[in-house]
Symmetry: C2
Subunit: 242 residues, 2 copies
Amino acid sequence: MLFFTQCFGAVLDLIHLRFQHYKAKRVFSAAGQLVCVVNPTHSLKYAPTRCAVAQTSTEQGGLPPCQHHEAVHDPQLVPCTCPLFSCPWEGHLEVVVSHLRQTHRINILQGAEIVFLATDMHLPAPTDWIIMHSCLGHQFLLVLRKQEKYKGHPQFFATMMLIGTQTQAENFTYRLELNRNQRRLKWEATPRSVLECIDSVISDGDCLVLNTSLAQLFADNGSLAIGIAITTSKVHNSEAEI
Amino acid sequence: MLFFTQCFGAVLDLIHLRFQHYKAKRVFSAAGQLVCVVNPTHSLKYAPTRCAVAQTSTEQGGLPPCQHHEAVHDPQLVPCTCPLFSCPWEGHLEVVVSHLRQTHRINILQGAEIVFLATDMHLPAPTDWIIMHSCLGHQFLLVLRKQEKYKGHPQFFATMMLIGTQTQAENFTYRLELNRNQRRLKWEATPRSVLECIDSVISDGDCLVLNTSLAQLFADNGSLAIGIAITTSKVHNSEAEI
């Protein structure tokens, strides 16, 4: 009897520890879907001219960021820079995930469908909310940015990038969905490669765009929930599913 | 034999006439879905302060536009103004459809699902593309507007309004969908009442909003195709389906 009581106690402890672990990571499951609470990243500074500057430095023998490197046979060995503009890091695709986790403390989530819950939407632009999303054998970077494209009128831009080459990215489709107050907004597209500049994707507006008033209609208590789903867009890639 | 030849000729003539009729109306069916080619309305001038002005005139005994009139028992007898800002017409809800058709020559289309094909997207702002859509026993007004909310940056705003009261509008859900170049954008919401100001819906941004670059990605040869679907959002209204 004592043995069973101890076993039961151990199970309870394990459940409690598991709960504490999830609470600490601020990742929890609600209504059967994984919800990730994402706090804003205040420290990122924007340098929209970095691509041009880097392009110039290439001519002087530097590493060429924001370009396709399909000539390298192993995609993991493609040279790339950190997709976050404040960071001077340069390396290869195979280590960019470790760099984002270790240096920028960006969480990585598993699962084909998750909910990205961005907190403190009221913070002034520029502000970023970033997570990594691991599914279908690849890692994706979701960036929600509050930015003043037109002075005095902040907008929200959300896009998903594959941590891989553009050729690999073309095998996937991502969906972002907002649903609240009898309104639903869905955006589906092919992810861009992390080798491209996030800034150019956002300045082109080739992403989910929300003005502040619409974002408020979708927000709940200052937080914006974005449902994310990734699927393979080509049949031959279906075996990559995990 | 001659009889059959004549019959066949008559059938061919009928098919030709039918084709000419559709061509003349610039409404045709493609891929099993009704496609309506909508030309821009250049003549509309915007007077965003009209609501405020009209509100003032109410105090002087004028007709109160841009307000709910739920106190009138028969929704058809609710007083209303023309939803197009250039027009001083005032009347009742039951005759606003005739006014829009006769005075503004706005086409009316039947069917729960249609494709709205707006031509000449390159025209400078402000420009409107407008049709009426008849389904589920009601008439709806679809407005696509190109407007410079931020000076020098035209955007496209699309919304659907019920030609009825707000209480009636709450029984429906409309969906606007853009689909091209491996991108899909869907907007679902409850239609507003035509008794409200279109301008306030657009200035609030509580509608489908597209910047010019995204509109170009969805456009084909200068035309933007928007799929439209209307459904009843309440069970008790399902018998209204036609």
